[in-house]
């Protein structure tokens, strides 16, 4: 299949933004083609499709709606992704609409005690190893995980919160948690864990990706480590950029997240860190939770939010607010996550796979959890008016239709 995208506003994290055409042959971007089927973009934006680094559930409809063609799947599912058979099956469940890159559990059962079979899991399709939604409490184990992963040249994707400080808590210490009477952990729980993992990464030379860094103190540590040349990258979700702990008011369990929402000063620090490049990756953290897990007293509810469908419009707010240029945004949404996973995609350069997204950056709509195509409606942004809609999506040159294809029969 040969395609010629005409009349497009092209956005590339490397080449910048320009008006022009794009050519695709056999699923790969090429410099020029004489004959090809024309796709008229109508002056809309054409950019690399989003690579969502860290989702808890494969939600094909939400990914299609959100312009996502690659997801890195967290290892926390049932069963835990610590076995090559499970990893291999997880890698296949997204076909044909979605690339799934499993993050293998770094320790058996994610228990933080024994190393999991990282090399075999990698052969089975894992693109990284991770600690999941939890923390490896034992520093000796964490050091061995990083050392072993360095030999395999896979990134270690870590959740950085000191588990002793956060045990039994559901919020960040502050006025909101105090008024609501919610058990809360100090924000420094994150910086403590980040400091340890950074020092271990520096010492071992491993590649470390901190999936969510959300506090000023932890971001300062990451910034300083990058300056020293530590192979660290950091991520965040739109929730921690646009919401503070005030969103938990009235015990709204949709705002129960892990890590919990932070104070306003930390939120401002996170915005600054996105702008200055300390934060490399913006991801959805997509984690659908039904009413049986969310319609509970706040402290008894499960943490998590959906986000695949809203990742683009919520990220575009950063562009409108002048924090990022469009090409820089697609650095955070496509190129950097591809690099963490070791994927050759995420830009519009010739030779790259034609993972493309056509979107209208101005299209207005209102986020509505009940109307979401995701498998649950737990968004903390319910009711928020936003701009930006994905119009069409291609994976390796094949268009993904809005109605998802049936899953593969196993």
């Amino acid at each position: 299949m040969r395609l010629r995208f005409t009349n497009a506003q092209l956005v590339c994290p490397v080449a910048g933004e320009w008006r022009g055409e794009l050519f695709v042959a056999d699923g790969v971007l090429v410099d020029y083609l004489d004959e090809a089927q024309v796709v008229d973009c109508g002056g809309r934006m054409l950019a690399p499709a989003i690579i969502d680094l860290g989702v808890f559930k494969v939600d094909r409809a939400a990914c299609r709606a959100g312009g996502i063609v690659h997801v890195a799947l967290m290892p926390d599912g049932a069963p835990v992704l610590d076995d090559p058979g499970v990893v291999q099956r997880a890698a296949l469940i997204g076909k044909p609409d979605l690339w799934i890159h499993p993050i293998a559990a770094a320790t058996r059962g994610l228990l933080g005690r024994e190393l999991a079979e990282m090399a075999i899991c990698r052969s089975a399709g894992a693109r990284a190893v991770g600690t999941g939604a939890g923390w490896i409490a034992d520093s000796a184990v964490m050091r061995r995980v990083l050392t072993y992963a360095r030999d395999l040249d896979v990134a270690v994707i870590a959740h950085a919160e000191d588990g002793n400080l956060t045990a039994g808590t559901v919020a960040t210490e502050g006025e909101t948690a105090t008024r609501l009477g919610l058990p809360a952990a100090p924000a420094v729980a994150e910086a403590l864990a980040v400091a340890r993992d950074l020092l271990l990464a520096e010492e071992t030379g491993a590649r470390l990706h901190l999936r969510q860094v959300t506090t000023a103190a932890a971001l300062d540590l990451v910034r300083a480590a990058k300056r020293r040349g530590v192979a660290v990258t950091a991520g965040i979700t739109p929730a921690h950029l646009h919401l503070s702990d005030l969103a938990m008011s009235d015990f709204r369990s949709f705002a129960h997240l892990s890590p919990p929402l932070r104070g306003e000063a930390d939120r401002q620090a996170a915005l600054a860190a996105v702008a200055d490049g300390t934060i490399d990756v913006i991801a959805s953290g997509h984690d659908p939770r039904g009413p049986e897990e969310k319609r509970l007293p706040f402290a008894d509810s499960a943490p998590g939010m959906i986000g695949a469908e809203t990742l683009l419009p919520l990220s575009l707010m950063l562009v409108r607010d002048g924090l990022l240029t469009l090409p820089a945004l697609f650095d955070r949404l496509a190129r950097n996550p591809a690099r963490v996973l070791g994927l050759d995609t995420g830009t519009l350069g010739a030779g790259m796979p034609a993972d493309l997204m056509l979107f209208d950056e101005k299209a207005p709509w209102r986020i509505d959890g009940d109307a979401s195509v995701a498998s649950a409606g737990n968004t903390p942004f319910d009711g928020l008016p936003v701009q930006g809609r994905v119009l069409r999506l291609w994976k390796a040159g094949h268009e993904i239709s809005a109605t998802p294809s049936p899953p593969p029969t196993s």
């Binding site: 105090t178 009477g181 100090p186 005030l246 009235d250 015990f251 402290a299 008894d300």
Partner: protein, 327 residues
């Protein structure tokens, strides 16, 4: 001090001078609404002391006390309050373990609702649980304590006790001392007393002090003797035994030394009113000689509790009973 940027809970539309369908907390109540409840309670204080013909205004109404957490005093107080007003009172005492899952909580609430209860009195170990139920049922819901969040009738009875013993609340210096971190009584009292213009000081070892508590317009102290200076009212909170033993404070005796209301400390407070929500750890946070002394209002608090709960039950059912001006 910077102004609080916390948005209070939205009002629930109702009728009359008290436009709330439920009483889930002191938060969201206006000062005049708190005063209104105290004024209503006054009449029941007097009625409870005489042997006059009982006022059975809640006759024919069903009051369900759904306690998902152990309680003796509060449950008893609500039961007596309801029965004095003639309501049919049913106690549903659910062991904490069997109703840990929230589906069961909402299902239970909807079951009670389907049985056409007129008032639900709820206690639950999780903050916000009562609010969650209140949003799902038609009848009036009264919070009898939810987690560490609020215990509004306790704050009302404390305010009533102070008002009756000291004439007014505005301008009085009230010291609240004890385990503020885990205390719903403290939260509700802070909200009520600051709304009624008292000067509230809170005192606890910093391990038991909620962060950012000063944003609730109180002054935190770690030194009890300093906090007590010039106090008009001293409110001691119970320290749970499980918090002792090295968890938050090293030991009973060290706690008593630093934060116990002892006879020596009382000697410096000749005019202060002494309060405690009970049950007391005698010899830990309060010495018996103080608890049983002339300045103690502790048993009076219990009496006020029944009156305040009668007032709350009466006011919250006025719409349902079609009282003129409330429908």
């Amino acid at each position: 001090m910077p102004a609080s940027d916390h948005r209070p809970a939205t009002l629930i539309p109702g009728g009359g001078v008290f436009p709330h369908r439920h009483l889930t907390g002191i938060e969201g109540l206006q000062p005049h609404e708190i005063t209104f409840l105290l004024d209503e309670a006054e009449r029941w204080v007097d009625a409870n002391r005489t042997h006059a013909e009982p006022d059975k205004r809640l006759a024919g109404l069903t009051q369900i006390n759904a306690f998902f957490e152990n309680s003796t005093r509060t449950l008893l107080s609500f039961e007596i309050a309801g029965k004095r007003l003639g309501a049919d009172v049913v106690n549903m005492h659910t062991a904490q373990s069997s109703v840990k899952k929230g589906e069961t909580l909402i299902d239970t609430a909807q079951t009670l609702n389907a049985m056409r209860a007129d008032v639900l009195v709820i206690r639950h170990s999780s903050s916000g649980a009562v609010r969650l139920i209140a949003d799902k049922v038609d009848c009036a819901v009264l919070n009898a304590g939810d987690g560490r969040h609020e215990h509004p009738t306790q704050a009302l009875l404390d305010a009533l006790t102070i008002r009756r013993r000291r004439g007014s609340i505005a301008g009085k210096r009230v010291v609240i001392c004890g385990d503020l971190l885990h205390s719903r009584v403290a939260r509700s009292n802070i909200l009520a007393l600051t709304a009624l213009a008292a000067e509230v000081r809170v005192c606890a070892p910093s391990t038991l002090m909620p962060p950012a508590i000063e944003r609730m317009f109180v002054t935190p102290f770690a030194d009890f003797d300093e906090a007590l200076r010039g106090a008009d009212v001293v409110m001691m909170l119970r320290v749970q035994t499980e918090r002792m033993a090295g968890g938050f404070i090293p030991s009973n005796r060290e706690y008593r030394l630093r934060y116990g209301l002892t006879a020596e400390r009382m000697a410096r407070l000749p005019d202060a009113l002494i309060m405690h929500p009970g049950p007391m750890n005698r010899g830990v946070e309060i010495d018996s000689v103080v608890a049983d002394g002339p300045q103690s209002a502790i048993t009076e608090q219990v009496a006020m509790g029944v009156a305040v709960r009668m007032a709350c039950l009466d006011v919250l059912t006025r719409r349902a009973r079609g009282v003129e001006g409330w429908a």
